[in-house]
Subunit: 461 residues, 2 copies
């Protein structure tokens, strides 16, 4: 009998082969274990702070709640439960819409919020914004990055993987990049785009200015568009390694480069100390993209009609938070600092914890929300994994999950050099639970290493 | 000098050729006119009720506002501005999340809301839901339909256009469909999917049960997946033409068909009497899609991480509105009825208005939010359009816009038979403004027809 359109056998191999490790085998097993209810699962597989107990910031939630319920603004009792600056802000944002949160906005987002984004970028980078340019609002960075990448695939482009240098604080080696691109091109592959995540996921590094310069120069030479995923720009844990935007570095380099390199940068309300993942809001900024191409992107974006409007307001609030003197300023700063400082401490506890384990080495988490320890698996463990039909780090992470409830993502899901193994965890579990989690990890790991023989001659890196 | 990745000349022709009429030339010109501020623009190009003054329903907004501001639930004064049933509902929905509105949900949506959707479908269609199946929540139907269609293109499929029968109340002629598919296949095109919009956009028809049966049989014979866009299922204006879901018709047909036809149905919070377009929430329901394919769709959906959580709650509320006896029931019913009954009257005013114009004929709007009059353009007008380098109905609609501020979408943007011209408007302008809008339309149209010579021998249909 002939196949139907959506029978499994009719599906394209590209779809079947696509892997998405963050919600892959480990996540599915963790969800099963949770359903069985026998084990408490610690979901450190996704950077989802509120799911691990982080409380939302009060002020932005007040503003968006009021925008959802605009009839409250006329209620004589509204001042009893909402501060005056939240009420004023809600009125401000509603005035930027064409019918409140229930109306589609322009597919690039609300013009008024886009202006606030442009001012934020100007304050951050020190360059006056081009009047012709305003960032576009979207419904979260992951959907936008994947749309742009498929857009680039439509152009006949292919993405070529590259490795970060673990011994160089997860920096990029541009010579290696050049080789990868040359090799791909010699195989007839059209390379069109380069993606960097800075601060890094899964690796937690902040790229240095020098490294960013090399990358931009490389993109210019190779005529690549650079997609700069900078969603963790507020998540910085080491003063010596600040976040520097690709846009600023590019502008600092001056003409002709600053007028040449095509750059798209991303930001989101999901990360930072806000962690408003479920709201699905972000922006992207296009630099040196020709106007006619921008028009085409606008046309394609129009098919999805409108980013969600409440998340656009979250983005507006994120780029223009309460100012000194505002009623809500002190509370806002207290809450924000509380979260960021705790993340900083948690980054430290986690790195130190991993580095205290047998056959585990871990770079310090300079930014973002992740720890990416290298697990030096003994040959016997690798053999046991093979027998079980598993990739070695998947084998390790599954055992870790079954033993401790800690749900991680195996390094193989992100790509890693042959014979080297990692896992990714977030630094997001509640601070008070962290010591216990790391203890439970250490206990599991050290037993695992004993079981499979840890004396196999690896030296500490 | 070699091209850069995103130079216009590097873009794929498919992207450049893609047309999206709803936000096309007419919309851009209308936006310009609005910016110039010389003319008040009546945006009837998109079904965006709140942008045209429709007020949001109070109860769902109260619930979502409380979910955004969960700290209010402990505030002793909350009862002064929120009714007790809204407070209870907010607690209910928050209990279904894993960290409130700020946490990513499963990429299929919150399980608890998916159950409410399943119960709604069961009440609507009279079939007990399959325990294995629950609808998936999404961030609006347009993004999901276009993702699924590109998914289907990935399978090597192509979409083949078809026409609706204007003289048969915009029904589908299955013999024509069979011919189109046979012809496409003889040209080596793989046809995989059939899309219907019921109630119809742009045509406003409700498909009859008999017609739906024919369509389902046709999809079965041709092994096509049917995508049933049913976002206007609550927008019904003629009692003799109720909405019937494709799912119900399929189940009524019994085995083997009911177990064979692959069907995906869509719904959204943007339409109905809610009109919550800016919230970006919807669901889709899969029938007879094999579990292994569903797994693949889940994997691909996971890349976007999570539909926005506040919109999921709107969907929950839409499928389980206040019940008789609830504090907010009367107000909810009053508001809902007010909107629906007014839409019904507006549909009537608009159809009658169009039918009173020279060379204009219009089927009655049975459902959805659109009127799709046929404009019988005189040969001289067609000639003038050609001279201006415009498609004839674009020419007409641009003149209409400049003269009256009414922003419509030319029928050519949707596809229409050779030599036949339409425009689409929504029935959404405020009821009290409707007579004036129709008068201004009539004035423009009748003058246009006189100018280009209306005595060219078309007879009224
Ligand atoms: C590098 C990176 N980009 C984007 C995202 C997702 O952002 P959003 O929630 O805006 O889709 C994540 C989420 O973890 C991420 O790690
Ligand atoms: C037929 C049809 N489907 C879907 C949509 C959009 O739905 P959503 O707002 O959920 O993307 C529209 C919007 O006008 C529509 O007309």
């Amino acid at each position: 009998m002939s196949l139907k359109a959506l029978d499994y056998e009719s599906l394209n191999e590209n779809v079947k082969n696509c892997q998405y490790a963050v919600r892959g085998e480990l996540y599915l097993r963790a969800s099963e274990l949770q359903k069985e209810g026998k084990k408490q699962i610690i979901f450190t597989n996704v950077g989802n702070p509120h799911a691990l107990g982080q409380k939302p910031l009060t002020f932005p939630r007040q503003v968006v709640a009021l925008c959802q319920a605009p009839f409250l603004l006329d209620n004589p009792n509204v001042g009893m439960i909402f501060p005056a600056d939240a009420i004023a802000r809600a009125k401000h944002y509603l005035s930027l819409t064409s019918g409140g949160l229930g109306a589609y906005s322009d597919s690039r987002g609300l013009l008024g919020v886009r202006k606030e984004v442009a001012e934020f970028i100007q304050r951050r980078d020190g360059y006056p914004r081009l009047t012709s340019f305003l960032g576009w609002l979207d419904s979260g960075s992951s959907a936008t990055v994947s749309t742009l990448l498929s857009y680039i695939s439509l152009l006949g482009g292919t993405l070529v993987p590259y490795y970060l240098e673990e011994t160089d604080n997860w920096g990029l080696d541009v010579n290696n990049l050049r080789q990868s691109v040359a090799q791909a091109r010699s195989q007839g592959i059209t390379v069109r785009a380069m993606v960097i995540i800075n601060p890094g996921n899964p690796t937690g590094q902040c790229l240095s200015e020098a490294n960013l310069r090399e990358i931009l120069k490389f993109c210019c030479d190779e005529r690549l568009v650079l997609l700069g995923d900078e969603v963790y720009q507020q998540n910085i844990y080491q003063d010596e390694r600040p976040f520097i935007s690709s846009k600023k570095v590019l502008m600092d380099m001056g003409a002709p480069l600053s007028k040449e390199v095509q750059l798209i940068s991303f930001h989101t309300v999901s990360k930072g100390y806000w962690g408003e993942c479920g709201q699905r809001g972000g922006y992207f900024e296009m630099t040196n993209i020709p106007p006619r191409t921008v028009e085409e992107i606008y046309k394609v974006a129009s098919i999805a009609l409108s980013p969600n409007v409440s998340a656009q307001i979250f983005m507006g609030l994120m780029v223009s938070p309460p100012k000194p003197g505002d009623i809500s300023y002190d509370q806002f700063v207290r809450e924000s600092k509380g979260i960021l400082e705790s993340l900083r401490r948690r980054a430290r506890i986690m790195t130190d914890g991993f580095n205290s384990c047998k056959n585990v080495v871990c770079n310090f988490t300079e930014g973002a929300m992740y720890s990416f320890p290298q697990i030096k698996l003994p040959p016997k463990a690798i053999q046991a994994a093979k027998q079980a039909g598993k990739v070695p780090d998947v084998f390790y992470c599954l055992k870790l999950l079954e033993a401790t409830g800690i749900s991680t993502v195996p390094g193989s899901g992100f790509g890693q050099r042959e014979g080297v193994f990692h896992l990714r965890t977030t630094i997001l579990p509640a601070e008070e639970e962290m010591p216990e989690i790391m203890e439970s990890f250490k206990k599991f790991n050290d037993e695992f290493m004993s079981q499979y023989g840890d004396n196999f001659g690896y030296s500490r890196m």
